[in-house]
Symmetry: C2
Subunit: 201 residues, 2 copies
Amino acid sequence: MKQPSSMVPTFTDRNNISTINNNHNGSDPKKKRLSNEQLELLENSFQDEIKLDPDRKLKLSKELGLQPRQIAVWFQNRRARWKAKQLERLYDALKQEYDAVSRDKHKLQQEVMALRAILKDQVGKLKQISTEISGEETVESTSIPISTEINTNPPLITTNNNNNHNQINSECNNNNINYPLNMDDYNNTIMMPPPYWPSCP
Amino acid sequence: MKQPSSMVPTFTDRNNISTINNNHNGSDPKKKRLSNEQLELLENSFQDEIKLDPDRKLKLSKELGLQPRQIAVWFQNRRARWKAKQLERLYDALKQEYDAVSRDKHKLQQEVMALRAILKDQVGKLKQISTEISGEETVESTSIPISTEINTNPPLITTNNNNNHNQINSECNNNNINYPLNMDDYNNTIMMPPPYWPSCP
DNA sequence: TACTTCACTGTAATTACATGA
DNA sequence: ATCATGTAATTACAGTGAAGT
């Protein structure tokens, strides 16, 4: 139905894929992406120190032929990216811990049940014996403590079995509509209709 | 009806400000913030459907007086933001689950120890009695199962006791240097020297 | 039929700018 | 001034489906 194709010249320039591009270290008026060399130096500098003092800024500015402003901006963006990545890592680590503790809990539940069974058995024996004798010393410590209300639930939180919440995107034709996106990341995990953003500040 | 200067008090009126400044380093104001009205409509549309089909795009484009391209870009960025927020929410939820399971585990450990103590006591009694009698029926089920190697560790992962990994930033003078940023989020949790990015092959 | 191209979608990463503390 | 954070826009890549060959 929609086949006008009379739109403005589409900007879908997926051409000029010069594989290992970024060879233009000269003076392009439109130069957007930083060259690999520049990136490498910036990256090294970042690894060295996540913060940028004015001296370093000026030094990098000269070395890379970029405006000091660009250096500052790059560092700010880099820190933001790093923080986002950090959250991701944190999540993964926590997930592992959670799984481990979950397993432990399950094992302990099994053990508690087993111990209770044994204890019951022992108490029975003890009772029996003490009855057989004469009932001289009735066992008094039959008070098996009641389990202190622990959730015997299944994992409860879904947390997506597949750990990789990043990059899945393989095939996800949910219905007839083709969604090139992983709905995995959208409707997954738990509740929450789209969250209506922190709507003012 | 609607005052042109500052309507919609629900949002911080940044659009007013944007009319004033926009004079940076000798560049014309190309960057444009969307008006609150536009944002509201886009936001509502986004809440309605996180994905943008061409029809809606055109419709919004006309309604808001924006290029279709801008609508698409806005939705893309909005999805990215939403996903980041989602990860944050996921983390918080998982953290809560983790804490709950941790508590359960601890309780179960206590219970196991208590049960073992009782059992030991019972077995002792049983043995004593059966010895007193004559030793006719030595108790055979003395095999208390060995705890199946469960970590009795403290939390192990730090995961920042304070749940709010966002916005802490209160005071974190780690050493003498004062970092205006929450080093909480930087050097916290675990290992990992700054991660040396996927160095772009 | 299969293969290639085109037009478009999407994500992910980047760059740059704006604002508030 | 810096920084964190939110935003807008750009770039690069991948996937899809409808032609065109």
